[in-house]
């Protein structure tokens, strides 16, 4: 095991796949200079400008070109810089990439990975802070990945690159500098397998991406009060590990879903609805969803903070559910 940052782990994963398969290439604005967050730093030297390719400010063409290049047998990894800018390329992703295989009756494969850094960072305001993962879970044809740790960011990125489906790969901007252990060698994390970060008998807390870390913090607080929370990191939202979540809730009888995204029509609703329907009888308390209010993200910290779901809120919700 090596200790690496989330950014470096992704870089290692991408570099390994690029060494393994000459048809893997990355394209996006300013990639040659290492990318906005340094996540491509130094790669130009090894792979050259054709495979770590700068692009014009043309999100629609970056995405659309990736669709064409994927259909022609390469494996593009496209960088959207901030997930917000992927909104300039939604037709290309949703109407083209996601549907090509199906519309053409299986003649096409579109093996592309769209890297879309999500989430609140520092005072980045309404056009640089969104978490729209639930949108993509609603679109047939797309895989949705939200890694929360360096190890997963390496292992899931490698799996995404090898996937024959288009993958929306959402790294959280707040996680780039976070360090963690990353297994050596060809570390692959499969889609659809949740990670149980902590076992517990009293309440299940499901989350993904950066919010997972707040859930762990909440679980630690709860443990001091004698409440044992089971914390599940979904890792991928489509497919999502329904079986693992249901098994946990069958054991605990209680579920909290915590997300950074806006609560209304967030992916938390899908989980809450599914679990409520499937385990209606087994639930000791109603499923509790936590998510942001339906407000754009502000610049000023006190306002921005109102869009955050905190560890304290998660702990308080769990305490209320457990009824202590």
């Amino acid at each position: 095991m090596a200790i690496m940052t989330y950014a470096d782990a992704a870089k290692a994963g991408l570099a390994e796949e690029m060494r393994r398969d000459p048809h893997v290439w990355a394209v996006g604005e300013d990639l040659g200079r290492g990318g906005v967050f340094g996540q491509y730093g130094g790669m130009l030297a090894e792979f050259g400008p054709e495979r770590i390719s700068d692009a014009p400010i043309s999100e629609a063409c970056i995405m659309g070109a990736a669709v064409g290049a994927a259909m022609m047998g390469t494996r593009p990894v496209v960088e959207m810089r901030f997930s917000d800018f992927a909104l300039c390329a939604i037709d290309e992703l949703v109407n083209q990439a996601a549907k090509a295989r199906y519309m053409f009756g299986g003649q096409a494969r579109v093996p592309l990975v769209v890297r879309e850094p999500i989430g609140m960072w520092r005072s980045s305001a309404a056009q640089h802070s969104q978490s729209l993962e639930s949108w993509y879970t609603h679109i047939p044809g797309l895989v949705v990945v939200c890694p929360s740790s360096p190890a997963d960011n390496k292992g899931l990125l490698k799996t995404a690159i090898r996937s024959d489906d288009p993958v929306v790969y959402m790294e959280h901007k707040g996680l780039w500098p976070v360090e963690g252990e990353v297994p050596e060698g060809d570390h692959l994390v499969p889609f659809g397998k949740a990670n149980v970060l902590r076992e517990g008998r009293d309440v299940t807390i499901v989350s993904w991406s950066a919010q997972v870390h707040l859930c762990m913090k909440a679980a630690e607080q709860l443990a001091k009060d004698g409440i044992e929370a089971e914390v599940i990191d979904l890792r991928t939202l489509w497919p999502w590990d329904k079986d693992r979540v249901l098994a946990s809730v069958e054991k605990t009888g209680r579920l909290i879903v915590a997300q950074e995204a806006v609560s209304v029509s967030g992916f938390g609703a899908e989980i809450a609805a599914t679990v409520s329907e499937t385990l209606h009888g087994a639930l000791k308390a109603p499923v509790k969803r936590l998510g942001a209010p339906r407000i754009p993200v502000s610049y000023a910290p006190p306002l921005e903070d109102k869009a955050r779901v905190t560890a304290d809120q998660i702990a308080a919700a769990a305490t209320a559910l457990v009824g202590r």
């Binding site: 048809h23 290439w25 054709e50 495979r51 692009a55 014009p56 043309s58 629609a60 063409c61 995405m63 659309g64 070109a65 990736a66 669709v67 064409g68 290049a69 994927a70 259909m71 022609m72 047998g73 390469t74 593009p76 037709d91 290309e92 109407n95 083209q96 090509a100 295989r101 199906y102 519309m103 053409f104 009756g105 299986g106 003649q107 096409a108 047939p140 044809g141 797309l142 895989v143 996937s163 024959d164 489906d165 889609f191 659809g192 489509w238 497919p239 329904k242 899908e270 599914t274």
Partner: protein, 328 residues
């Protein structure tokens, strides 16, 4: 205007054969619409056959073509099987896309036809990417991307052409200018001097030609495709034509005077091509008859075919995840 003196008569006959095949396919498709066995909208290419024909005659089988909603002619000219296409239009088993696509998503990857597209202009950026892959792989293929005159007002036109120039990609962009975008005369919605002027401003070499002159299309396409294949980078071909039918098969096109359409019928590209080679009248008549027979057969076979089995709705969505999860 094509010069009759140096004409390759066999090539003209071949072009006439292809144009008649397209015409006959479209007429049978329209018949299918009348009989309500064509299920969705179709956008006939009657009157525009020379462009598909002249260009595709210069593409190899492993060259790649991207088309639009008005894609039957391009698809046939690229070499697709009309029976499979007709099945697709009728939503039947054995259609190119297994009935999942229909007219607006017709595709035959086996002959390098990477799809019609229901979103105007969307094929342009995809074509740029197809060219990008060819360059990355060091192949000698060429990509041809055909779109309408309405498509040049959407952003992907700028983004895709600029991309192809910046990366020096092997892409022939073809603007099939039939004067209309649906019910609107495109000129009224287009600033400046039009497709070629725009393409030049993005750095492409461009030519504007009479798209109803099949030999002119053929010759210009050959020159451009040769240059592209030899690493010359993208080229732009602006071909004027006219849509002799409505926008869709069911559009009576009352937004244009009857006289205009009558006048334009005199410019029918098949008639014009035939007139280039007086001695080949019989050969062309024979090709025409064969074309109608072929397409009528395609019609009959497709009509008699079964619908695909309903469970196929769940295949070819994606590898990961269960598409039935949470449904109904």
């Amino acid at each position: 205007m094509t010069d009759r003196r140096n004409i390759d008569a066999n090539r003209v006959v071949d072009h006439c054969r292809m144009m008649w095949r397209i015409r006959a396919f479209e007429e049978n498709a329209l018949r299918g619409l009348d009989e309500k066995i064509v299920l969705g909208a179709i956008h006939p290419t009657i009157g525009q056959e020379a462009i598909a024909t002249g260009i595709c005659a210069n593409l190899n089988r492993d060259d790649v073509l991207l088309s639009t909603h008005r894609g039957h002619g391009h698809t046939l000219a690229k070499g697709a099987n009309p029976e499979a296409m007709m099945r697709e239009l009728f939503g039947k088993e054995g259609g190119n896309c297994g009935g999942k696509g229909g007219s607006m998503h017709i595709a035959d990857f086996g002959v390098g036809m990477l799809g019609a597209n229901g979103v105007v202009s969307a094929n342009i950026v995809i074509a740029a990417g197809a060219g990008h892959a060819i360059k990355l792989k060091g192949e000698k293929k060429v990509v041809c991307c055909i779109f309408g005159d309405g498509a040049i007002n959407r952003g992907p036109f700028l983004e895709g052409l600029n991309w192809a120039v910046v990366f020096n990609l092997p892409v022939l962009f073809v603007c099939e200018d039939n004067g209309f975008a649906a019910t609107t005369r495109t000129k009224t919605m287009t600033g400046g001097d039009g497709p070629s002027a725009r393409a030049r401003s993005f750095g492409l070499q461009a030519k504007e030609i009479d798209g109803n002159d099949v030999m002119a299309v053929d010759e210009t396409a050959r020159e451009m495709i040769d240059a592209i294949r030899n690493g010359g980078g993208p080229r732009f071909l602006h071909a004027h034509t006219y849509r002799l039918t409505g926008h869709t098969g069911s559009d009576p096109a009352t937004y244009r005077p009857k006289e205009e359409v009558e006048e334009k019928w005199k410019d029918d590209p098949i008639v014009r091509a035939s007139a280039l080679v007086d001695g080949q009248k019989d050969a062309i008549e024979k090709a025409k008859a064969e074309a109608y027979a072929e397409m009528s057969r395609a019609f009959d076979v497709a009509k008699a075919a079964s619908f695909p089995s309903a469970d196929l709705a769940f295949t070819d969505v994606q590898d990961a995840g269960d598409p039935r999860q949470g449904a109904y």
